[in-house]
């Protein structure tokens, strides 16, 4: 532990999450403080601005209960750090990295600043290892690779938790044994039941001892939510880049994070932007999402699978919008498919994996995988167009070919997207080819003559 200094009686004003202190000590910007109230509680904070007379402390936990007179501030003289070792695996922490499972404290091997430093782009290695998740709409249509940040855009009441657990439990390199992997889970403002669902699922599949859980529950301080993903990502970076593990980070629910940010920035008096979110939401989210990837010369990787619920199912809302601008694609869940009983209810058209092209095709999955995915996309897009047309003019008003597309669309959703158990990529591809066989050859312009001969005509 670095030395720290205690100061009492310096507080001069409390305004929302901001605590103003007379500047009796020469401390630096962004340094951490612990604020002890007369109520016996301790809150973390950081120095957000300094002038010659005053320090502005941004409280990262609720300020309720603080008074001016009896507040004592401990200055840590450095930014917030998190002490780590592999001892964090199998353990449960609160949203600010304190053990809450009743076990002993974590032995500290190394300590890291929770904000992390930006990765040098030159040091990044291009992610390209295909991860099989067992889910056709992901593996075949939106493949995930190691080191990618691929969020799930969901909505209240949709089965995103189940999907995330399924991916976490099944994810593996093709043909490989289970490797040195670890899971870091951060529950950000989630209900107790949801956090418990993850814990039980990890327990049932036997991965709990390889997982570190960080829980900021819905009932916990909302300002603390700004710290939870940072503690979790610091732990994940340690496991990946110091301990050499393949780490999957699940952050849920990023919407709660953004709302906490809006709350704090509003209280600070920042100029509100779209929907009241601060103008720096993009940069702030980037400091979290960009903490994923692979590095030259290091064995470990960090893959992010965050979950966010789109307010009013609106993908144009600032939270999913800015997230999509930072992450390497998104898996979008659809209420309509869910209502139709399709699981996983992945809406394929707005979903995207940008790193897919580096992880699939010749030498990695199957030479014809890219063309098949592209053709399925094109055909399914036409199917949805035909559906729109049919809903207006009725099926009778359609041309023969549009009716074929209607049937294709239904088959695509019910046979390819929908699944009850995990599928290999080969099984997913076989379904894809089968569905395409129902379309006339002239429609298959994304397939080469050779592909048509081999997969379509030879088996018609």
């Amino acid at each position: 532990m670095r030395p720290s200094l205690l100061v009492s009686g310096a507080a001069s004003r409390i305004d929302g999450p901001l605590l103003f202190l007379r500047r009796t000590l020469n401390v630096g910007l962004n340094h951490a403080v612990s604020v002890h109230g007369g109520d016996g509680r301790t809150r973390l904070g950081r120095i957000a601005a300094i002038d010659e007379e005053f320090l502005t402390v941004e409280l990262l936990e609720s300020g309720a209960g603080l008074a001016l007179a009896d507040t004592v501030v401990r200055f840590h003289l450095e930014p917030l750090h998190f002490g780590l070792s592999t001892g964090i695996l199998g353990r449960v922490f609160d949203g600010v990295g304190r053990v809450i499972d009743g076990g002993p404290p974590i032995p500290i091997h190394r300590s890291f600043q929770i904000d992390g430093l930006p990765l040098n782009p030159v040091a990044r290695a291009r992610p390209h290892d295909f991860i099989e998740t067992g889910i056709s709409a992901v593996d075949l249509m939106n493949s995930l690779v190691r080191g990618q940040k691929l969020p799930i855009f969901s909505g209240g009441g949709l089965p995103h938790d189940r999907l995330a657990v399924q991916i976490a439990n099944h994810a593996r390199l093709r043909g490989a044994e289970s490797q040195d992997f670890a899971i870091v889970f951060a529950g950000i403002g989630v209900p107790h039941a949801s956090a418990d669902y993850f814990r039980r699922s990890f327990e049932a599949s036997g991965v709990l001892e390889r997982a570190a859980l960080f829980l900021n529950l819905a009932s916990d301080s909302s300002t603390q939510r700004l710290l939870t993903p940072r503690f979790a990502l610091t732990a994940a970076e340690y496991l990946a880049f110091v301990e050499g593990k393949h780490v999957l980070v699940i952050l849920t629910d990023m919407t709660n994070y953004c709302e906490a940010l809006r709350e704090v920035s509003g209280a600070k008096g920042d100029v509100p932007g779209r929907k009241g979110f601060p103008g720096y939401l993009y940069s702030d989210l980037a400091t979290l999402y960009e903490r994923a990837g692979c590095l030259h010369g290091l064995a470990g990787t960090l893959t992010q699978l965050s979950i966010l619920t789109m307010p009013s199912d609106d993908i144009g809302h600032p939270i999913p919008d800015l997230t999509g601008y930072i992450t390497e694609g998104q898996i979008v869940l659809s209420r309509e498919l869910d209502r139709a009983g399709i699981y996983p209810p992945i809406s394929v058209l707005p979903s995207l994996s940008r790193l897919m092209k580096d992880g699939i095709g010749r030498g990695s999955t199957d030479t014809d995988h890219p063309a098949l995915a592209s053709q399925l996309y094109a055909a399914y897009a036409k199917a949805t167009q035909a559906r729109v047309l049919a809903s207006v003019v009725g099926e009778e008003g359609l041309l023969e070919i549009d009716r074929k597309y209607l049937a294709f669309g239904a088959g695509f959703e019910q046979e390819l997207v929908s699944q009850t158990s995990a599928r290999t990529l080969e099984a997913s591809m076989e379904i894809g080819w089968r569905l395409l066989r129902a379309l006339p050859k002239v429609e298959l312009s994304r397939l080469s003559d050779a592909q048509i001969a081999q997969y379509i005509e030879a088996q018609r």
Partner: protein, 596 residues
């Protein structure tokens, strides 16, 4: 050097009490690590500065030292083939996994220098001081700085020298003398002077059909690429960086993803420049300021980049400056402006957003350089509008500055139709100026019917009208049903779809189709136009729409881009022949009404 002491700090912005004079836009160094910053406001004895690095740990009392120079960069032979941050500090060292604040400028590099001036000669700004061969083996000129001139008093013999070592002394008419090295300093916010602006009658050939043939950009032109997330801005810019006809590419990752930079760094050294066969990286300068790097440096990065581009332009080269994304730059401007308390205007942006955008795009031009050669900077910038809504401030202000507008469309992107450029929302004001250039391309093809001077413009208009009609008919079909459309209109829909699939679609990941040269574009356009013409004629003589739609020729037409390689000229002649004979074989169906 003047010194000031910090009196207030928050995030990347500080105020400091100055003990000596500072200039607006002067570069400053902050604290013991010498963090780089810039003076953005002066008020009495107080200066306001933005800091380009992480300010953690700074506090009141810390010294801010003026550099005496405006924020600027050093331009010289050490740029090509390398990656820099937003202030042109090299990022090359992969052994440091993280970006640490307080990065120092690099030690000078050495180059083999051959003088091109002689003692006694009179050297003007921009003239060639000498030539060097850079680390990649490319020959480059070293220029006398634009603001220097005079009689050459001394100049070094050929040899190997550090790039910052004075190699020559000039004496100006006023008697003052100035030492000149291979590299020189230039303030980033100041456009480098030119002798003359030139009109452009030549395109930047991008190798993308929808751009070159429908919405071209001239050398020295300016284009904007707006589009929501995942619509293909980055992939398009990367495709242009790989295959466009520029001599030098300056690629700026401005507030975008680290992995994208890693991708470029991984790929470019292995790919060959289609024109020279040398590794692509050798004609490329990368400036990376990813979204998680300090935000103020993001604001500066596009100025560093355009200054680098102008420097190569001044050597008589054609430069393409690709910026991904200008929205992130504008947001950085907004973030800093809010921090020092400016009143926000539209969308929270500062009121000077539109003039800053205009100033930036104004630096794109085709020019006669000070040394008398012709050079150009073509600027292509992507825009990331919130929710993909083009009415927001950055898009609408940019739209007034650029001459080519390539609007990306979410619907197209979702059906994986790439490039997802919407032909009805996009435009190019350069197209008329480029007609004579295209006329030469078409003149080189074997004649196809009566020679027409403006064949390209005519085909272009034909395609655009067809796409327009398609949109209109599809709206109609949504009311009355597709089967209620007369055969002629169904044929229009069919042909428009063929133009989309066979011409506009072009995968950036296809080896054959990543690049499509002007000749191949012209041949493809002609093939499709021929089909459309013959199909209309067939319909008019009573052939049914269904018979035309079922023709075997349709599939090879749709796959021309993938299946016919750049050099396979014969394939187009074969295609035309096959087309003619298939059409000749179509017989009027007895039931079909003849359409006049």
């Amino acid at each position: 050097m003047s010194v000031a002491h910090i009196s207030w700090i928050s995030g990347p912005v500080l105020r400091a009490r100055a003990l000596g004079p500072f200039r607006l836009r002067e570069a400053v160094h902050v604290g013991s690590r010498g963090l780089l910053g810039e003076v953005i406001r002066i008020q009495g004895d107080e200066i306001v500065a933005q800091v380009y690095e992480d300010t953690t740990g700074l506090r009141p009392g810390v010294a801010v030292t003026g550099s005496g120079f405006l924020l600027g960069i050093t331009l010289g032979p050490a740029l090509l083939g390398r990656i820099f941050d937003g202030l042109l500090r090299p990022r090359a060292d992969a052994s440091t996994h993280y970006v640490e604040p307080g990065m120092k400028a690099e030690a000078p590099l050495e180059f083999d220098f051959t003088p091109r001036l002689r003692a006694g000669e009179y050297a003007r700004g921009g003239s060639v001081l000498g030539e060097v061969v850079n680390h990649a083996g490319t020959r480059q000129s070293c220029l006398v700085p634009p603001d220097a001139e005079g009689e050459v008093l001394t100049i070094q013999a050929p040899g190997r020298y550090p790039d910052n070592l004075p190699l020559s002394t000039l004496r100006a008419v006023d008697g003052s003398s100035r030492a000149i090295a291979m590299s020189h300093f230039w303030p980033v916010r100041e456009p480098r002077p030119v002798a003359k602006w030139l009109p452009s009658d030549e395109p930047l050939v991008t190798g993308q059909r929808i751009l070159d043939s429908l919405f071209p950009v001239a050398l020295g032109g300016k284009a904007a690429i707006p589009g929501g997330f995942g619509t293909g801005k980055t992939v398009l810019l990367e495709a242009l960086a790989k295959s466009c006809s520029a001599d030098v590419i300056v690629y700026v990752g401005c507030g975008e993803r680290g992995n994208e930079m890693a991708g470029v760094l991984d790929e470019f050294p292995r790919l060959a420049d289609p024109r020279t066969g040398r590794p692509l990286m050798e004609r490329t300068v990368i400036i990376a300021n990813t979204s998680n790097m300090p935000v103020a440096a993001r604001e500066a990065s596009i100025y560093s980049a355009v200054t680098v581009a102008e420097y190569f332009r001044d050597q008589g080269l054609q430069v393409a400056l690709l910026v991904d994304s200008t929205s992130r730059w504008a947001e950085a401007l907004r973030e800093v402006s809010v921090r020092f308390g400016e009143l926000p205007s539209e969308g929270g942006y500062p009121p000077y957003l539109s003039s800053r955008i205009a100033e930036f795009y104004e630096r794109a031009a085709k020019v006669t350089t000070l040394a008398g050669s012709t050079g150009s900077v073509t600027v292509l910038g992507s825009i990331s509008p919130p929710s993909g809504d083009f009415s927001e401030p950055v898009t609408s202000h940019t739209k007034r500055q650029v001459r080519s507008f390539w609007a990306l469309d979410v619907k197209r992107a979702q059906s994986r139709f790439f490039p997802a450029i919407n032909p009805l929302q996009s435009y190019s004001e350069d197209s008329l100026d480029l007609e004579s250039w295209w006329a030469k391309v078409y003149a080189d093809l074997p004649p196809d019917g009566p020679a027409a001077g403006d064949e390209w413009l005519a085909l272009r208009r034909r395609f655009l009208t067809l796409l327009d009609e398609q949109a209109r008919l599809e709206r109609m079909a949504r009311i009355i049903g597709k089967d209620a459309l007369p055969a002629r209109q169904q044929l229009i829909l069919f042909c428009a779809e063929l133009v989309n699939e066979g011409f506009l679609r072009q995968s950036a990941f296809s080896e054959t189709d990543l690049y499509c040269g002007p000749q191949r574009q012209a041949r493809m356009m002609r093939s499709l136009a021929r089909f459309i013409e013959e199909a209309e004629a067939a319909l008019a003589r009573g052939v049914s729409y269904e018979a035309i739609a079922a023709m075997a020729i349709v599939r090879p037409l749709e796959r021309m881009g993938e299946d016919i390689t750049e050099s396979n000229v014969q394939a187009f002649a074969d295609l035309a022949q096959r087309m003619d004979s298939e059409f000749a074989g179509l017989t009027p169906s007895p039931g079909a009404k003849r359409e006049a």
